[in-house]
């Protein structure tokens, strides 16, 4: 009787223990290699020769900037976020090139970026990483992994195969071929692309995207003229301009129409959508990427003030997960230096 009970007891204990370990392994993704683990994006972002010690895994080349965001109060109708009240918030920013290689050529890297961390007087933080492309190249995080993997592939047909299953990629190709080039970070418009949900003071919700419109007049140049410019001319241009005078951008928020796609950043909303001016970003000082204050900042787009939240766009969550892996690896590298 007791012996049979003991055998039964041991069997139950073994089942519970093995079952728990198996469930834990499943939760951690060890049993599901197809899961979209953030490490797979980081692996696909390997530049030739690997990432430089301590550098970001994408947009590795950059410049830090310091400035302010002065709110006009115009965006308060879309979000009760502290930085949208009339007033001035601190801003830490970073211009970058859209490439995982720190040595990416400034003359021919098509995508340029600007990321910011805005800190309201009450301490609330808003982080965003934006690019100068008016829409995201692909519709889903899974498609973006396929695109990154194809981009790093030696197979010349790889990108074509991604384009065949993700027709939205053609729009990016068209933009890359036809959009004018400039010779300055200051002349670019930067777009947040992802849609977020703003909550106004009365609890109403609004799907919004944001952009920064340059106050600096745009002077387009040919790719040949860019190719003739010295290495790191964009960084040097920014330093020179900021030494002479502050640079500014107008921040605008666009609200989605009732039938606009808020889940797919590859689809721009129609141009006639309601747009409000939130205020002005003014940059006063630039600092080197390697030892500047933006070096250790993770521009995680899910760091949002109360009054802004993620919505059904899956990219902010995906970017947060991938940026975290990049941050964890590069801070570990810096610590081991």
């Amino acid at each position: 009787m007791a012996a049979r009970g003991a055998v039964r007891g041991v069997a139950i204990i073994a089942c519970v223990a093995v079952g728990s370990v198996a469930a834990f392994a499943w939760a951690a993704g060890f049993l599901t290699p197809d899961r979209l683990a953030p490490e797979r994006y980081i692996a696909a972002l390997q530049p030739p020769g690997g990432a430089r010690i301590g550098d970001r895994r994408n947009h590795a080349h950059g410049v830090c900037v310091i400035g302010t965001f002065q709110s006009t109060g115009g965006a308060a109708s879309l979000s009760r976020a502290a930085m949208f009240r009339v007033g001035t918030s601190r801003l830490l920013g970073r211009f970058s090139l859209g490439s995982p290689a720190e040595a990416a050529p400034e003359a021919s890297t098509r995508v340029r970026g600007f990321a910011f961390r805005i800190t309201a007087p009450d301490g609330a933080e808003w982080r965003s990483a934006m690019i100068d492309v008016p829409f995201f190249p692909v519709a889903t995080p899974a498609a973006f992994l396929a695109l990154l993997q194809a981009g790093g592939s030696k197979d010349p047909g790889a990108i074509g195969r991604v384009a065949a299953t993700h027709p939205e990629l053609k729009n990016f190709g068209g933009w890359a071929k036809t959009a004018p080039w400039t010779a300055s970070f200051a002349e670019e418009r930067y777009n947040g692309l992802d849609a977020f949900v703003g909550t106004d003071a009365s609890g109403g919700t609004h799907h919004v995207r944001w952009s920064l419109l340059p106050a600096t007049p745009v002077d387009s140049v040919t790719p040949d003229a860019l190719a003739a410019m010295p290495k790191d001319f964009l960084d040097e241009d920014l330093r020179k301009r900021l030494a002479a005078a502050p640079l500014s951008w107008t921040m605008v928020l666009t609200e989605a129409g009732p039938h606009d796609d808020t889940a797919d950043p590859s689809r721009a909303w129609p141009a006639d959508r309601r747009t409000v001016i939130a205020g002005t970003i003014t940059l006063t000082q630039s600092q080197d990427n390697a030892d500047g204050p933006c070096r250790d900042v993770n521009f995680d787009p899910t760091v949002l003030p109360s009054g802004l939240a993620t919505g059904d766009d899956p990219f902010p969550a995906a970017r947060s997960a991938v940026y975290a892996v990049s941050f964890n690896r590069r801070t570990a590298e810096e610590a081991a230096r």
Binding site: G9, L36, A124
Partner: protein, 188 residues
């Protein structure tokens, strides 16, 4: 009838407050371990939702663990069966010390790690806790490693704890399980 007459049966019971704290925290800690490994395993928005749950749940566990430590130090625990071998008694004592240490250290390490990353320590509704460390790559690297390694060790400890509890409940039937679960020992 009894074939286990030589086994000492524990009749003492943990206080109701201790039992409520234990089972509440058991659910919270097991959930926390699964949330933790799950949230870093995917870029899917469910991962972000889990991160948003992980922070406040961790702080809740820290508060409960401190309350529980206070209760444990004042109320004590029923004695283990006298016939439990000394090395097993020692293992039981040490594993409980380790469990308490992990319950208190893990939320603090997580809080410190997020602080050292320079990220806001967001709870619910836009309320954030203050940073408990300055931003630091070196501290972040150490704390991130510690948080991961201790999480796996804690999971192993929880599996061991559950296995030992079931061993008392199903095989030894010595009242140790009932001291926390309630009920009385039935022997056939």
């Amino acid at each position: 009838m009894s074939t286990t007459a030589t086994t000492d049966i524990v009749t003492g019971r943990f206080s109701p407050v201790q039992r409520v704290l234990h089972w509440l925290m058991a659910a919270a800690i097991i959930a926390m371990l699964f949330i933790g490994v799950g949230m870093v395993s995917t870029v899917h928005p469910v991962g972000l939702a889990l991160v948003d749950l992980h922070r406040p749940l961790g702080i809740a566990i820290l508060v409960l663990a401190l309350v529980r430590l206070g209760v444990r130090l004042t109320r004590g625990a029923p004695p283990l069966p006298r016939d439990l071998p000394a090395p097993v008694q020692l293992a039981a004592t040490l594993s409980h010390v380790a469990l308490y240490a992990a319950m208190i250290a893990m939320p603090l390490i997580g809080w410190a790690m997020v602080s050292a990353a320079g990220m806001p320590v967001v709870m619910w509704g836009g309320v954030a806790l203050p940073a408990i460390l300055p931003q630091s790559d070196g501290l972040h690297a150490i704390l991130w490693d510690a948080h991961r390694v201790i999480a796996y060790l804690l999971f192993a400890l929880v599996v061991l704890h559950v296995s030992a509890a079931l061993m008392h409940a199903l095989i030894r039937r010595d009242g140790v399980f009932e001291a926390m679960a309630g009920g009385s020992v039935e022997r056939g």
